[in-house]
């Protein structure tokens, strides 16, 4: 655990030293703030003391930002060779992966924490559904965790950051919209199964304010798969099967 935290700390420092963290936070707040308060179907247009519009915007901005955060995590270390020095120290592959993963989650949580003033503002405007807001944030966090694990995996299969970024977006796109679109054209059980693979479906079910174990299991499985595949792909370097 100590080792994982050590790696997390180093990754976080590197996020902040390379300005990635600042750019990510500023852009995220800029986008989500702009569409929540100023333009489009913003809060004032809806006329309700609800953060639904913010969650929808954040849902999309995070979808694009997370691969940008995760793309360098392993790909860059593979390119410069530092992964070799890191993995020949007293750490396991798993500790490195979890450390890096945790760093991404913390950075995203920091970005989300900066949107808490929105909650305060809206709650001053009217009667806010506290449970709904809590669930909305939970949904955003779970979705970020799922996409981060996918991003970490694509970062581990290449030493080119652009390839890592695009593959993460490509895989993410299926969960984000493609499954939903396919399902909408089908009926019956097949449609239901494909629809239940879609992140959107579970995100909406969660942000409606109901914590269903189905949704938790769904996000949990994506996270597990992502991290598991990352470990497999890292272990491939040495012919361990």
């Amino acid at each position: 655990m100590k080792t994982i935290w050590l790696i997390t700390k180093r990754e976080l420092n590197s996020f902040f030293d390379s300005l990635t963290a600042y750019i990510m936070i500023v852009l995220f707040l800029g986008f989500s703030g702009f569409f929540t308060w100023i333009s489009g179907s913003d809060i004032f247009l809806m006329g309700q003391a609800s953060l639904r519009s913010f969650f929808t915007i954040a849902y999309w901005t995070l979808f694009f930002f997370i691969p940008a955060l995760t793309m360098k995590l392993i790909a860059e270390e593979k390119k410069t060779g530092t992964i070799e020095i890191l993995l020949t120290k007293a750490v396991t592959d798993r500790q490195v992966i979890l450390g890096k993963y945790l760093a991404t989650l913390i950075l995203i949580s920091i970005a989300l924490a900066f949107t808490l003033p929105y909650v305060v503002t809206v709650s001053k405007l009217g009667n806010i559904d506290a449970g709904g807001v809590l669930c909305g944030y939970l949904a955003l966090l779970l979705m970020s965790a799922a996409y981060s694990s996918i991003g970490l995996f694509t970062s581990s299969i290449t030493n080119n950051q652009i390839v890592a970024f695009l593959s993460a977006l490509f895989i993410g796109l299926f969960f984000h919209i493609i499954f939903e679109i396919i399902a909408s054209g089908m009926s019956g059980l097949a449609g239901q199964i494909i629809n239940s693979l879609s992140v959107t479906y579970h995100f909406e079910s969660l942000s409606r304010g109901v914590v269903d174990s189905k949704d938790l299991v769904y996000f949990g499985s994506i996270i597990f798969m992502g991290l598991f595949l990352t470990e497999v792909s890292l272990a491939k370097r040495n012919g361990y099967k």
């Binding site: 080792t3 050590l6 790696i7 180093r10 420092n13 590197s14 030293d17 390379s18 410069t80 060779g81 530092t82 070799e84 020095i85 993995l87 020949t88 120290k89 007293a90 750490v91 396991t92 370097r237 040495n238 012919g239 361990y240």
Partner: protein
């Protein structure tokens, strides 16, 4: 801790990068690992550090196989890899503390260790800079510092002096020698004088196979099986001298090195050849003005062993 390697083989596709290598490095020994580019040095070192797994064979460190509990054994290994990859954006001190902590150095001892490493590798003036701002030589020192910061019992150094200037090379070699008194060191290099200056034993591989293993002296003997003497004898007829020299016991070949100066190269097997030559000169009233044992250069041995 010693290192024992048994029948190590690693394939990349159909090509064998390392082919059935066995060796043993004792505690307190500095092993020089030589070989042309692509001979399998780096691959072997990566397998010892357990970064990649061998296809066949075993590596034991301190009697335990490295694949069994890699994460424990790595605490005792310091590794400087070939291209010395470092986190360019990290300041030197932060990086060294990170390495110390991850290798399990106790927290209250870390600042002391970092300061000691900085002093030992001469990084004092550069310690607040980011690693990416340092010159190649200084980065190499950081690489060395991160390898020894946790005081490992085993040091694996892949070309430790590459990119250093001559003064630094001398310093680093001295440092390695000092470290090698109590640690087991394997270092790879292309620089042959370096091996002679630092290593107790030499290990030459070519195309993944062992071609030589021994001290510099034993390799010389093995390579030629004979000694060469350069002799200059004055006050005599070249041909007469030539004949006389040939009749000396244990002399196998006599060559003219320079006929006009009466210079000869004498190939001889062991024995008291120098004495015999002296006696011969006294007897014939010749003047012996030069007698130099001619050492076979390590470069020649290396070339002989790896060119075919």
């Amino acid at each position: 801790m010693d290192i024992v390697i048994e029948n190590l083989t690693k394939r990349y596709g159909p090509q064998k990068a390392v082919d059935n290598i066995s060796m043993r490095v004792a505690t307190g020994e500095i092993l020089g690992f030589l070989g042309p580019n692509g001979a399998g040095k780096t691959t072997t070192m990566k397998m010892i550090t357990n970064y990649i797994a061998p296809d066949e064979g075993n590596i034991f460190i301190g009697g335990k196989p490295v694949t069994e509990n890699p994460h424990e054994i790595r605490k005792h290994i310091g590794y400087l890899s070939e291209n010395n990859p470092l986190y360019q954006e990290m300041p030197v001190i932060d990086y060294l503390s990170f390495c110390a902590e991850i290798q399990g150095v106790e927290k209250n001892k870390i600042p002391g260790r970092v300061i000691e490493m900085i002093r030992l590798t001469g990084l004092n003036r550069e310690k607040h800079k980011k690693i990416g701002e340092l010159s190649k030589g200084y980065q190499q020192r950081v690489g060395l510092a991160q390898a020894i910061i946790h005081n490992p019992k085993i040091l694996i150094l892949d070309e430790p002096t590459s990119g250093l200037d001559p003064n630094q090379i001398v310093e680093i070699r001295k440092l390695i020698r000092e470290l090698g008194r109590e640690k087991t060191v394997i270092l790879s290099t292309h620089i042959l004088p370096e091996v002679e200056a630092t290593c107790d034993r030499i290990f030459i591989i070519n195309k993944g196979k062992i071609v030589a293993d021994g001290t510099a002296d034993s390799l010389r003997k093995q390579a030629r099986g004979s000694e060469i003497l350069r002799v200059r004898i004055e006050d005599g007829q070249p041909d007469q001298i030539y004949k006389a020299l040939q009749s000396v016991r244990s002399v196998s070949i006599v060559e003219f090195a320079d006929r006009n100066l009466n210079r000869f190269d004498i190939h001889c097997s062991a024995g008291d050849v120098k004495r015999e030559i002296f006696k011969l000169c006294v007897e014939k009233q010749w003047v012996l003005t030069e007698l130099t044992p001619y050492e076979t250069k390590l470069e020649d041995i290396f070339r002989d062993l790896t060119m075919n």
